[in-house]
Symmetry: C2
Subunit: 179 residues, 2 copies
């Protein structure tokens, strides 16, 4: 499976409240085939966690960038020809729009917020997309979005630079060390 040019922008990471959830967002981004993540805020523990996952399980290309001005990221993304997708429970159901996005065949910035997202992002994204019009989780929303983009293929991504890989088992754990 070829990775697409997909990056995630995580808005408004509040260190205390969001640290575990943002870590999950970043882990899903890597595991489900995004190439990197911009995080609004700074969190050195998160960085350490993700770098450790990359070192063991592969995906050195996966970039983590802390940003102070997420609107600038959005503006630059669009002016360089990419599309911006904002995942929100208030948006258009994903099933109505996903084929159109895939057909555009261009790089995608996926915005996931935490509780409150400024109106600006609704008006400066190309698409406001709902993964179900119910309150749930930006982690789940990102996972389903990437799953629809890759049509399930993301679950079989091989990280060629992995030191460790899992050999699937019916019971217990089996991990191979790659030399």
């Amino acid at each position: 499976m070829n990775l697409k040019d997909i990056y995630v922008l995580r808005l408004h990471h509040r260190l205390e409240r969001d640290k575990r959830v943002t870590t999950h967002v970043a882990l899903v981004a890597r595991a489900f085939g995004a190439k990197g993540i911009f995080i609004h805020g700074e969190d050195m523990n998160l960085l350490k966690t993700i770098e450790k996952v990359k070192a063991n399980w592969g995906g050195k290309y996966f970039s983590i960038e802390f940003v102070k001005n997420p609107k600038k990221v959005v503006r630059e993304w669009r002016s360089s020809g990419g599309i911006v997708v904002h995942l929100t429970m208030y948006g258009i159901p994903i099933d109505n729009i996903i084929e159109k996005i895939i057909e555009k065949n261009t790089k995608i910035l996926v915005i996931v917020g935490s509780e409150k997202v400024e109106g600006w992002y609704y008006y400066n994204s190309d698409y406001n997309i709902a993964i179900g019009n119910q309150p749930h989780s930006e982690v789940a929303a990102l996972a389903i979005f990437l799953d629809r983009i890759y049509k399930g293929g993301e679950l079989n991504i091989q990280f060629s630079d992995a030191k460790l890989s899992i050999i699937p088992q019916e019971r217990g754990k089996k991990v191979r060390k790659n030399e």
Copy 2:
């Protein structure tokens, strides 16, 4: 879409570390068509959050039960004829097994852990299932599992007892109050 008899068992909820993540697990469970959640541990703030979501967005049937002995939940589930699915990165890829589970057409307990899950659960589940053999998130794993069970239909669940419903918009937010 008819809801299936699916419940989630969240293992080892550690109040400080996991509070937001377990809340996301519970929100995904409700939004993606599970009927309830058992949580190993206790967290009154989480309960308040989910009850508020149910009151506004519907799904009063969705049950939240704090349990001290999660192994007992597993044993009783199996002895009453249900199957137990443990989501783990070490398991069998979901694509290899999902049709078999759907065909069984019986109630399902879905176990999601936090960092370390005791070996007991690997040996006392009917299926250990991987949502990709990579480290990511139990929130994402649960979402994809339910998505595969419901074949995407979970994104259109209507909660008939909702006080609020969203009218999907290309920009901004529109919420209807149901009388």
